[in-house]
């Protein structure tokens, strides 16, 4: 899979940023609207997306097959203390999990799905510590001092404590190694620098080996020199699979779906649930007003205050403002200037979505 460095010119596209800027600025910028396309219904779109016939199935399969010859090399490098970092276009989830379940049977393997939105690193650490503890215990070679120390349950121990346990002494190292597979170490749930620091610390532990994948072209920017050279200690592998990013792309909105109204109504409902009943009622007033006055820019703030006060929902302008701030923070409500110069409030949702939201709230 080696590609020569000299290929660059052959592509004939190596235009740089400024050329691209130039193209955009040269007045040819297209004015076509997305709405010019005859967009199909979102549900149909989703159904089609999940049923789409895959291309090159055979070739992808043989590509995956070809990587199997590398498995033993990968295991070797893991055993020698390196981390494996897989990159290249296509989902590498199946590849890495296949590698882990066929070639890493000697080790316990924990899989982290970095493409998900939120991952609790502490929970991961606790699981790792428990696995390692089981492993060491079954070998019965653990020195007694560690035994007593570990009797305290792992879930009450601090991150540093857990890391120290995973970074045990060299003699024990051969007895227990836990492999951590991290799909999309550059994914949304792991992207922040604090998490990356923790991951690097985990990676540098003597009882831990890491196999990770990245998909973002700028992923290496997540790491500084220390993390790359001494903590993760990556061995890079270019393993494009061209397999569809099915799970990884699950939470991305479809760009041709209708404004994502369903999505935002759903999120709005979730946010509203967490607010006080009074705040919810204020929101309802606004929503009802917007539905009954579809042609207006929105509801004037004074107007909203008067109605809310009448219904004993707020006692002062200050209370209302605090509700409004909450709404605005969650993008539930926006302000715009009325034609007569007055500021007015509106909910950035289509009428149907708003109706659905109201009916959900009333349930």
């Amino acid at each position: 899979m080696e590609i020569n460095d000299g290929d660059e010119d052959e592509f004939g596209f190596s235009r740089n940023y400024f050329l691209a800027k130039d193209m955009a600025a040269s007045g040819k910028k297209s004015t076509h609207k997305l709405s010019d396309i005859d967009l199909v219904d979102e549900q149909e779109l989703r159904a089609e997306a999940s049923n789409a016939e895959p291309k090159h199935e055979k070739e992808i399969e043989s590509l995956m097959e070809s990587y199997k010859s590398l498995y033993s090399k990968w295991v070797f490098e893991l055993r020698c203390g390196f981390g494996l970092l897989m990159y290249g276009f296509g989902s590498k989830k199946a590849l890495i999990e296949d590698f882990a379940s066929t070639a890493l049977t000697e080790y316990s393997v924990v899989v982290i799905n970095g493409y998900l939105q939120s991952i609790n690193i502490k929970q991961v650490l606790i699981t790792l510590a428990e696995l390692l503890w089981d492993q060491l215990k079954s070998k019965r070679r653990t020195p007694s001092r560690n035994l007593s120390k570990a009797q305290q349950p792992f879930n009450t121990r601090s991150m540093d404590d857990l890391l120290a346990f995973l970074d045990g002494s060299q003699e024990e190292e051969n007895d227990g190694v836990v492999c951590v597979v991290i799909h999309n170490i550059d994914g949304p749930g792991l992207r922040d620098s604090e998490t990356q620091q923790y991951l690097a610390q985990i990676a540098s532990c003597s009882h831990i080996r890491i196999v990770a994948s990245i998909d973002h072209v700028n992923a290496p920017l997540l790491w500084d020199k220390k993390m790359v050279h001494t903590q993760f200690n990556w061995c890079w592998y270019h393993v494009p699979t061209f397999a569809p990013y099915k799970v990884e792309g699950m939470f991305f909105p479809l760009i041709l779906a209708h404004g994502g109204s369903a999505q935002s109504a759903k999120t709005a409902a979730i946010v509203l649930q967490s607010l006080t009943p009074n705040a919810q009622s204020v929101f309802k007033i606004l929503a009802e007003y917007q539905l009954s006055h579809p042609d207006e820019e929105g509801m004037p703030i004074d107007n909203l205050y008067t109605v809310s006060r009448e219904r004993f929902l707020v006692s002062s302008q200050v209370t209302l403002n605090s509700h409004l701030t909450e709404f605005k923070d969650h993008d539930l409500v926006k302000t715009r200037r009325h034609s007569d110069g007055q500021d007015c409030l509106y909910i950035p949702l289509a009428s149907e979505a708003l109706e659905k939201l109201l009916s959900d709230m009333n349930q």
Partner: protein, 674 residues
């Protein structure tokens, strides 16, 4: 190498559980199978499964049995190789550690002397001004000194410290405070600290040791001048990265250390990596380690390196089965095939191995001795010549790594051994005073530095010959003496001496270079010791996701090796990977891509009928193809779905940015060019 997994094994985990797992933030894939015994049993289970699948053929079963034995042996090999790697790497690592410690030892000793001296000054001259007593000097790392009584004591009451100092019987020893990196300290806190210490310096003879990573200006930049005058600094410098690098190279790659060595190309790559990357030893050592692990992971015979220094491997070779395996591999090595004739047996192999070891030892000695042998010539006091020849070495222009690269180059070696006697070219000094010259390899003329040096010696000899002759005939010819005027004026006896020394030196050097400084790559069986695959090293060491992922997309058909899309040149075919089509189309746009246009060109590409493919190679985004006859049964919904999915995939790779509220109809390109 064990084919660790067969196609049969590749059944993915059952779908229902994997769907659950896919949505878990994390999960345990499996627990460790306990111990090595089970490892073997899984191996046999694998075989059993395989046999089950082909029970009818006896022949197959036999083959499988043979294969099983082989696999088992390979398994042993892997373990042996891992062990060998650990042995070799720990040797290299400890060697590096020792070398670096030795490099620092001198400075540390100097510092220690200085501390004692400063302390004596403080104690003896109690009348001197305060500011002369508190001294600080910059060094680069921490010095583990016996006199370290305290770290930063800002939170303490200094008088407590003073009474502690008197009470504990510490009186008579200096208090050394080490600030690891002054540039990372808060200036105001540091100032207060220094002022406070300077007031107490007679009660507590504090000596400051500060680490400075950049320039000597550092304290001046951080501390105000009234604080600076309380310091009496003295400078100590630790070895530069290049000096330490030379020391490490010498100990690890030139002298026989672990037996592991690298080829010419790998050495070149590592040198450039060192020079271009960040010039730190850390990155060099990492490169070396990756080279090492790559070697042990692919070279079946590398396990021999594990016992290279002991006689262990001879014992290993007593093991009949293992020996068979070793020989099987060894006789396939190209260097062995090239260099041996006749029968292949264990003796030849062991003999080859010990020869190899001997050669390696000699090689190291010769590479290292060479500079000294130059010095030997040097002592003849022929200044003009020496200046020119040793300029490089003298003024730090040639590093050991450069010499190593040259010594490892098989082509240069061939050139040297064949041409030194015949070709004495007019060759100007290959080293410009420009420091950069040795970083951009190859700057040397044909034959390199070593060849050049040899030629110079020859030249010198030639020069001497007529001089001697003329001295003998007592008829000095003026036209010949331009260069050798000084020699001509010297006594004949001296000339004879000089000539003899030159000749001896030349013969010695030539002999050493020819016989012992053979590049490792030209020695039989070198594959066992020498890592050669520079591409592997490079790709494992430096990932290049930004470029590679784009290339994947732009040339998907090359990687997928499918018949349907290859041979299309730059034409986009409907059979191509959707995301690949989309990214190729995106190249036609500026920094913003109009979604509508992008969609239309995608649609026309995937609907493009086969017969018309050629003419429709490149679509300008503005051209719409609404009248296109839709030959396939692709619904609009299906195309839109595929478009959406491709956009998501591009979003995951980070190559495009989603529409903003300000520009709802455009996505933004992120990467321009590779």
């Amino acid at each position: 190498m064990a084919p660790s997994a067969t196609p049969i094994d590749s059944s993915p985990p059952s779908t229902s559980s994997s769907v659950d797992n896919n949505l878990q933030p994390f999960f345990v894939l499996h627990k460790a199978s306990s111990g090595k015994s089970e490892r073997k049993s899984t191996g046999s289970a694998k075989t059993r499964r395989r046999i089950d699948l082909s029970p009818s053929l006896q022949m197959n079963a036999k083959k499988l049995e043979a294969k099983r034995v082989e696999e088992c042996d390979d398994d042993c090999y892997v373990n042996l190789r891992v062990e060998a790697f650990e042995i070799v790497w720990s040797k290299i690592e400890s060697t590096i550690k020792n070398v670096l410690r030795d490099v620092n030892t001198n400075v540390f000793n100097e510092i220690h002397r200085w501390v004692c001296q400063s302390f004596n000054t403080i104690m003896s001259s109690r009348t001197i001004a305060f500011h002369e007593a508190t001294q600080a000097f910059p060094i680069i790392t921490d010095a583990s000194s016996k006199q370290l009584f305290t770290g930063l004591v800002l939170t303490m009451d200094i008088s407590i410290l003073a009474s502690w100092y008197r009470e504990q019987g510490n009186y008579g020893n200096p208090v050394v405070v080490i600030v690891e990196d002054i540039e990372r300290c808060c200036g105001s806190v540091m100032s207060d600290f220094i002022l406070m210490l300077s007031e107490w310096v007679f009660k507590i003879p504090v000596i400051l040791i500060m680490g400075v990573a950049t320039t000597l200006d550092a304290p001046r930049n951080i501390l105000p001048s009234d604080v600076l005058q309380h310091l009496n600094p003295c400078k100590f410098t630790l070895g530069t990265p290049t000096e330490r690098m030379d020391a490490v190279i010498e100990a690890v790659l030139v002298k026989p250390c672990s037996g592991f060595s690298v080829s010419h190309k790998v050495a070149l790559f590592m040198r450039n990596y060192f020079a271009r990357q960040d010039g730190t030893l850390t990155s060099f050592i990492r490169a070396l380690k990756i080279a090492c692990v790559q070697h042990f992971s692919v070279e079946p015979l590398s396990f021999i390196l594990g016992g290279i220094s002991s006689e262990e491997n001879e014992q290993v070779l007593q093991d009949g089965l293992l020996l068979q395996m070793v020989l099987k591999h060894a006789f396939d090595l190209p260097s062995f095939v090239r260099n041996t004739t006749g029968e292949h047996n264990g003796e030849i192999f062991t003999h080859g191995l010990s020869e190899m070891k001997k050669l390696l030892k000699h090689w190291g000695i010769v590479v290292l001795v060479r500079p000294e042998s130059f010095l030997c010539v040097n002592s003849i006091r022929n200044d003009e010549y020496i200046d020119c020849l040793y300029e490089a070495g003298k003024y730090d222009k040639i590093r050991l790594l450069d010499l190593l690269c040259e010594a490892l180059d098989p082509e240069l070696h061939n050139f040297r051994t064949s041409d030194t006697h015949t070709k004495i070219e007019e060759d100007p000094c290959p080293f410009s005073s420009n420091y950069r010259c040795h970083q951009q390899y190859p700057v040397f003329r044909k034959g390199g530095f070593i060849g050049w040096a040899l030629r110079k010696i020859h030249e010198k000899l030639k020069e001497l010959r007529p001089v001697l002759k003329s001295e003998n005939d007592k008829s000095s010819k003026e036209d010949m003496t331009n260069i050798s005027k000084r020699q001509a004026s010297r006594s004949q006896l001296y000339m004879e001496d000089t000539k003899a020394v030159y000749e001896k030196a030349t013969i010695l050097m030539e002999c050493m270079v020819r016989d012992y400084m053979q590049p490792i790559e030209s020695i039989p069986l070198h594959e066992v010791f020498c890592f050669k695959n520079v591409e592997k090293l490079q790709s494992a060491l430096i990932g290049d996701p930004r470029r590679r992922i784009q290339v994947d997309l732009l040339e998907s058909h090359i990687i997928l090796r499918c018949r349907c899309c290859s041979g299309s040149g730059n034409t986009l075919l409907p059979t191509m990977h959707d995301t690949s089509i989309m990214y190729n189309l995106a190249q036609e746009h500026g920094d913003l891509i109009n979604l509508h246009d992008w969609y239309q060109s995608f649609k026309s590409t995937v609907l493009c009928p086969r017969s018309k493919r050629k003419q429709k190679s490149k679509q300008s985004p503005s051209k719409k193809r609404k009248n296109l006859t839709e030959p396939e049964n692709l619904s609009e919904a299906a195309i839109q779905a595929r478009f959406c999915r491709a956009v998501i995939e591009l979003q995951i790779t980070g190559l495009i940015r989603m529409p903003t509220k300000r520009r709802p109809d455009f996505v933004q390109r992120v990467a321009f060019g590779l």
